[in-house]
């Protein structure tokens, strides 16, 4: 499946390239100025695709791509410009660079490498940021790089043009670079790394609790993106023959941003479409501007007009179609969806895996109440004395509990008792203020969420946190790919999980478009895809009616039987909890006040008091702790 997806992505890149090449070459054939336009278009395309790799996959808007183009252009220029020219422009260049005269291809290679290296260094700090903070830092980066290029006169020649760069770039070079950029961007988007980056884009918290290292996946997107942007700048320098810092500043930034936004930043095809459309519009405004076309510094009226249009396009797109013309669709999208669906049918129809799974499902539902005979995993989660303070508020006050493989344990308690806090501490979302946690004797203390997930503790959330713009299959694949890597013996493919949960019809739908109940199921499936030894469920029955809740009881038991994992769940619906759990912990004001079988807990006067308080006793009912002695209690069966 994975190879097929990568193959399709590659095919899509090739198809896209063929179209780009056909259009640009036929336009270039019209004449010299047309060839110039086409070549510049192609180099812009490389830059926009480079930007797409980072911003499209991580959802973090970067403004610094132009800076990396600038750095690439300057490095290559400094290395390859004839020493004779540099003797007059930058005679005092440091490290004897004034005398260096490399061949253009070698200089270009080194320039891309230097740009990538610099980006790799900056990324160490930047990748830790998300959202608007990250964007602000990229903006700061643009300004810092511009200041350095303008003021490090001995190296860059300052604000004036750096000229004499060997003009080796032609339309063929530019085309080759577009090909590389397209292939890299499409393969990355389809790859597991890319998918993880997209998961962080959709929901950082859910991504890390699915075992994704948020910072790392942002980091690699950043480095890859900068390399492609550097390549674009290098080519541009060797095309123009003369560059200046302003060439890699706000004008280019706005132009490329408009291109990306118009096509849709999640889509590589969109980047290509955006580059074409904005270029056409820019050419049109230039023609409309009616002034003479001057390739100097002084073309302000025309530049103003085309920026006016770019600004208007950005606003219009944001208002009417914020995800751009193409959204996240790719040229091969339609084709691939069809092929995948067909392949899945084949797999589901005859594969031995599917057959085994069906048998399994049937068997499991038959013996839902019995503990699995072959519950091999022995994983035990032990929490001892966990406390969590928030600025004076004690949410968790020395709570201890234990969850063993193969059992379903409930955690109940009045609102504000600290149930979700406990789950957050166990899953690494919060660091405990005190206490210890171990999974099978391995300490979990202080581990970040993704590490805990990788060790085999999966979770769901009180309010569903899916990767909304990713398909159901992709949602599962994010977790399944982590599991495959971390615990290959337990892991299963996303396809198998799809079968297990009977998600085949919704596999290619975006998770965010599903109805509420379905979303909750997908979230549980995603947690199961992590092949957990402990599964934490935060109010799985919230918002479900009684019938649905009882279905969920069966479903959760089935998961327990199949996976052999231990399940710890929180819920307010006491009927549900009593029916499902073998053991129950009652949490109140951050402490475990009672523990035992559902029957024992129900009879515990401390629990009655905590739930109803002294005032509430007269008006029992409602959310009282007593579903009645007749309520099914698996532990007593």
């Amino acid at each position: 499946m994975y190879r097929r997806e990568m193959g399709l992505a590659f095919g899509g890149a090739v198809a896209l390239f063929a179209i780009v090449a056909a259009i640009s070459l036929s336009y270039a054939a019209l004449g010299g100025s047309e060839e110039n336009t086409a070549t510049v278009l192609l180099m812009n395309m490389v830059l926009v695709i480079g930007l797409q790799i980072f911003s499209g996959n991580t959802g973090v808007l970067s403004l610094a791509h132009v800076s990396f183009a600038g750095i690439g252009a300057y490095v290559s220029a400094i290395l390859s410009t004839p020493a004779l020219v540099k003797g007059t422009t930058i005679p005092d260049a440091p490290w004897g660079l004034a005398g260096v005269e490399l061949s253009a291809p070698l200089a270009m290679l080194i320039a891309v490498a230097v740009t990538t290296l610099l980006a790799a260094l900056i990324g160490l700090a930047l990748a830790r940021l998300s959202g608007i903070s990250a964007t602000i830092v990229t903006l700061a980066l643009v300004i810092v790089v511009f200041a350095v290029l303008t003021n490090w006169k001995s190296l860059t020649g300052g604000a004036e043009a750096f000229y004499g760069i060997p003009t080796t770039t032609n339309i063929w070079w530019a085309l080759a670079a577009v090909f590389v950029a397209l292939v890299v961007a499409r393969l990355y988007k389809a790859s597991r790394l890319g998918l993880r980056a997209q998961a962080t884009r959709e929901d950082e918290v859910a991504a890390s609790s699915s075992g994704v290292q948020v910072v790392r996946s942002r980091y690699w997107s950043w480095v890859l993106s900068s390399a492609v942007c550097g390549l674009s700048g290098v080519l541009l320098g060797h095309y123009l023959g003369a560059i200046s810092p302003t060439g890699f500043y706000f004008t280019l930034l706005f132009l490329t941003l408009a291109m990306l936004v118009l096509g849709g930043e999640y889509s590589v095809t969109g980047a290509v479409v955006g580059v074409f459309l904005i270029t056409v519009v820019s050419e049109a405004t230039r023609w409309l501007g009616d002034g003479p076309v001057v390739f100097g510094v002084d073309v302000p009226p025309l530049a103003g007009l085309s920026q006016l249009v770019q600004g208007a396009i950005i606003i219009a797109v944001m208002i009417w179609r914020p995800s751009g013309l193409l959204g996240d669709r790719e040229i091969d999208g339609l084709l691939s969806t069809r092929l995948l669906a067909r392949a899945d049918l084949r797999e589901a129809g005859g594969g031995p895996v599917a057959a085994e799974q069906r048998a399994d499902v049937a068997g499991a539902s038959g013996a839902a109440d019995a503990l699995p005979a072959a519950a091999a995993p022995t994983a035990t989660l032990v929490v001892e004395g966990a406390s969590k303070h928030f600025e004076g508020l004690t949410a968790l006050d020395g709570a201890s509990l234990e969850v063993r493989a193969g059992e379903v344990v409930g955690l109940i308690g009045p609102n504000g008792a600290g149930k979700t806090t406990l789950l957050n501490v166990v899953s690494g979302m919060y660091e405990a203020s005190a206490g210890t946690m171990t999974l099978d004797g391995v300490s979990l203390d202080g581990l970040p969420a993704h590490r805990i997930a990788r060790l085999g503790i999966a979770r769901t959330f009180q309010t569903t946190r899916l990767f909304r713009e990713l398909t159901v299959r992709q949602n599962l694949e994010v977790a399944a790919s982590v599991a495959r890597h971390q615990r290959p013996e337990a892991a299963r493919s996303a396809g198998q999980i799809l079968d297990q949960f009977e998600f085949r019809e919704i596999a290619e739908l975006k998770a965010g478009t599903l109805p509420y109940g379905r979303q909750r199921e997908v979230e549980i499936a995603r947690a199961v895809a992590l092949a957990p030894s402990i599964l934490l469920l935060d109010e799985p029955a919230a918002g479900l009616n009684d019938a649905e809740s009882m279905e969920l009881v069966t479903a959760i038991r089935r998961i327990r039987d199949r996976e052999g994992c231990g399940i710890l769940l929180i819920d307010h619906d006491l009927h549900f909890v009593m029916a499902l759990c073998e053991r129950i912990y009652v949490l109140d004001a951050g402490r475990i006040i009672s523990a035992g079988t559902p029957g024992e807990v129900q009879r515990d006067p401390v629990v009655v008091e905590a739930y109803l308080g002294s005032r509430g006793v007269q008006q029992s009912g409602g959310e009282g702790p007593a579903p009645g002695p007749s309520a099914p209690s698996p532990a007593e069966v």
């Binding site: 830790r128 608007i132 830092v137 600004g311 208007a312 606003i315 944001m318 957050n424």
Partner: protein, 295 residues
């Protein structure tokens, strides 16, 4: 010592204008979560309205207030035409919209007025100065600091004592709750934009009194500085924005005064390096509006 005091005075003065800008940005952000890249363009707009007033022969005392009114109108237009349609969209969509607005406004002045600098002269008394000891105090310093102090005071009064002000503070905490209380969302948001326009207009008049000229791109950097001030202080936090404005003013003045001559060109570079480092060290702390985001 005198030199140091002089720089402190300069820092307070420059910091005041940044603080005014940062406050306007913070008010809007705190309510609708918009990082308004086009905030700086309000200054540009003020400059061109003043330029218009100047070119029809009005005196400064007349065209400066007209400029401020023009800025408020521009802010309201921005809200109505560009930001209202994307009000409920993601922060990224709103931010990109504001970037589009920023690009458009600068380009519009460039295309329809002129890419060149236009004169907006300030009266002579503004640059007059008194000397106390070795300290040179300009009328412009006093005006800047005075206007900022009064504006901040009035703003705080508005936020504490009026219904709309209290509604705005509440909206910064939880917009939906405010709507449920029967206060119109539009009223709160429009007021926020009006205030941000007013503060930007005041800042613009003070800035133009120093520069005496306007060009289409003068706003962008000032806008970015307002941004930076917010980032330093923690975006959406009004007191933080105020403090951030002064910190930025001091840092810039200090760098300009004490950076070796051959590095002076790097002033902006250093300022932004400082910002980048601040953000990297305190990634969440500086940008958290509400702590509820984490699960």
């Amino acid at each position: 010592m005198i030199d140091f005091l002089q720089q402190v005075l300069n820092g307070i003065s420059l910091g005041s204008t940044y603080a005014l800008l940062a406050l306007g940005l913070a008010i809007v952000f705190s309510i609708i979560g918009l990082v308004n890249f086009a905030h700086g363009e309000l200054i540009t707009a003020c400059g061109y309205v003043m330029f218009l007033g100047y070119s029809v022969g009005l005196p400064w005392v007349v065209y400066a207030p007209i400029g401020i009114v023009g800025t408020v109108v521009t802010a309201l237009l921005m809200e109505r035409l560009a930001f209202r349609p994307v009000r409920n969209a993601s922060p990224l969509t709103m931010m990109l919209t504001s970037l589009g607005v920023s690009i458009m406004i600068a380009a519009a002045f460039e295309t329809f007025v002129s890419p060149r600098v236009k004169a907006v002269p300030a009266p002579d008394w503004i640059s007059s100065a008194v000397h106390i000891g070795g300290l040179r105090i300009q009328a412009e310093h006093i005006l800047t600091i005075g206007v900022t102090a009064v504006a901040v005071l009035l703003l705080m009064l508005l936020l504490k004592k009026t219904v709309i002000g209290v509604a705005m503070r509440a909206a910064a905490e939880d917009f939906n709750a405010v709507r449920l209380m029967g206060i119109k969302a539009n009223a709160v948001i429009v007021t926020a934009f009006a205030i941000s326009g007013l503060l930007a207009g005041l800042a613009a008049v003070l800035i133009l009194a120093r520069r005496s000229a306007v060009n289409p791109h003068m706003g962008i950097f000032l806008g970015i500085n307002a941004f930076v001030a917010n980032v330093i202080g923690g975006l959406g936090n009004l007191w933080g924005a105020l403090a951030g404005g002064f910190v930025l003013g001091f840092v810039e003045v200090a760098l300009r005064a004490w950076l070796p001559v051959d590095l002076s060109g790097f002033t902006t570079g250093f300022v932004f390096l400082f910002v980048a480092i601040v953000l990297v060290i305190r990634p969440s702390g500086l940008f958290v509006k509400k702590a509820q985001e984490r699960v």
